[in-house]
Subunit: 351 residues, 2 copies
């Protein structure tokens, strides 16, 4: 980014003072006489001087920049979280750079921003990181200020901010049980972050709590995409007896599942109840609106930046793990099973 950058030396020369004096006049630290200060400022102005942030940082200062690494910026949830972070970072007078890695954090990625960008920021946030164990180990060993968000695939010594997937999922499934459902299916998502596994754990716990068996054919594998939810739904609704409720590991899959149900002529929520996770915008506008769970993104962003800044500033009171309960959002896609039991068998397609 250099054209013919004006340096402090030139400013000092023009003002007829030592470099150090110019530095003091411009940064505002230390004693400088009013007269000299004005002289220096005038010279700087005339020359169009802009301090070189890099040189300043290299003296051991901070960059005042935090970075956030995301895998999929087009995800509504990630996007919303990043926006919340942007707001939050401002309170600390820091800037936030977003890095969209779009890939698994493997050796190549490690080389790229683990090394190349080293020194550019004061701290780093990883949102839903898909990191290899090696990468994680390297990060743990580095001692750099880092916070992981919604990473629960395996234990780590790094600070983590989490939404409570397990209890959220358990509550959701428990509420289905309370509505009389017994054949409750679950659609898994990808395994990367461990979120799907946690939600599945909650599902199984709720079933166990209610003394209900889990037929393994009720547990379908998806990839968090709407399409995978549709396919999973087709498979699930082909079972006999058909599950009366489906809990999907995220909203996209739940909406795909909703389309599968509709294509089979099933009525919602009379024939089948549906629950998702995340509360994406599409959940509200769906017909019927989707019952779902949501993480308190604003609170999580607040905690994330707070924890990170504590580490950057070497402040006490850091927590290794901060977890927030998920909120359940009841909408029209769930209903007591008793609503229309007679219609339950209508137009079921036999596999």
């Amino acid at each position: 980014m250099k054209k013919q950058a004006v340096t402090l030396v030139q400013v000092a020369a023009k003002a007829g003072v030592a470099v150090m004096t110019a530095s003091r006049a411009i940064s505002g630290d230390g004693y400088v006489s009013e007269e000299t200060r004005n002289k220096v400022l005038a010279a700087a102005d005339a020359l169009g001087y802009a301090p070189n942030a890099l040189a300043r940082v290299m003296k051991g200062g901070r960059t005042n920049v935090l970075g956030v690494v995301v895998n999929d910026l087009s995800s509504v949830v990630v996007n919303a979280f990043v926006s919340a972070l942007t707001e939050e970072v401002r309170k600390y007078e820091m800037d936030l750079f977003i890095y969209n890695s779009s890939v698994q954090l493997d050796e190549q990625a490690q080389r790229r921003h683990g090394q190349l960008l080293h020194g550019l920021w004061d701290g780093l946030i990883y949102v839903l990181p898909r990191m290899t164990d090696e990468y994680l180990a390297a990060l743990e060993a580095s001692g750099s200020p880092v916070v992981l968000v919604n990473f629960c695939r395996r234990p780590t010594t790094l600070p983590v901010v989490l939404g409570d997937n397990f209890n959220g999922a358990r509550d959701a499934v428990a509420s289905l049980v309370a509505q009389g459902h017994a054949r409750i299916a679950f659609i898994r998502g990808s395994h990367w972050t461990g979120q799907s596994a946690e939600r599945e754990r909650g599902y199984r716990q709720a079933m166990a709590d209610a003394g209900l068996p889990v037929d393994e054919r009720w547990v379908a594998q998806g990839t968090f995409s709407e399409k995978s939810g549709l396919e999973a739904g087709q498979a699930l609704f082909a079972l006999d007896p058909r599950p009366t409720a489906v809990f999907a590991a995220n909203d996209e899959m739940a909406l795909g599942c909703m389309n599968a149900a509709r294509a089979l002529g099933l009525r919602l929520p009379e024939d089948v109840s549906l629950v998702g996770f995340d509360d994406v915008p599409g959940a509200v506008t769906a017909q019927p609106p989707l019952t779902t769970l949501r993480h308190p993104l604003a609170l999580m962003a607040q905690a994330t930046v707070q924890e990170l800044m504590r580490r950057v500033l070497h402040e006490p009171g850091t927590r290794q793990r901060v977890e927030f309960p998920a909120e359940m959002v009841m909408r029209g896609s769930t209903a007591p099973i008793a609503t229309a039991p007679a219609a339950a068998k209508r137009r079921t397609r036999k596999a």
Copy 2:
């Protein structure tokens, strides 16, 4: 990002070589014997060495990082464009940092990244920039590698990559005219980037081309938001005679307008035809699917990175202005006016 950063000096010491040798071994430049190289690499690995990007840059090198400044990362279009940029940047073996400014680029913003700009990245992309004239002037004067995307509020000497709003809008309105519409309304968006103004210019041109008068009550002011589209729609549909078609400066407003129409009991496209701009995902799923226009984002991203890199690398063949025609996407929200002329007056709410 510094805790107790490992430096080249430590690596060199551990490997028992001079700092310069270590530098060569790691960067891969210059002659180093296979043996020494391995020794150094081993030492670096053991210490968990990561080169300090800042120091490297300070020697006058490049950061291999491009930056993109956006105002609203949650906008679907912006998001899609940034994703395209991310892909494109990779071809040049560069990294892309995203900076979400969320605000107008005024003096304060200028101080923040205008300074960071100084050295942190090799080039900068501004997407739909909302910059003050002063900021623009400063940028023009700086001589830094910069590309503006979809900025057409005023002429500039900076390189610009644009989607053709004027001709796109003109074609869209012309197609409405061809379908027999004469009372065609327009909903403006915010003025920041000049895109709305260009689309309005296209609208007026198409009307003039067809010899149709523009009743100024047909031109409503919105803010690019769905809500503003809804309100504009309510006002437009209260007119007597009612416009038979509405061209909104973006899809969100068109969809808001669609809701306004539906709330009034108007049928689409029989009673009113609707055209948007941008082709957001919601346009396809709307009922009826929205006819709209779209900029070729992938091509634009390609041109943007190419132009920027030419400037970064001081390559010849730079263009100051690259413009791409918009594509029209015909969907169900537009129809010839003749379809159901008899129904046109049904349930119109008089103001």
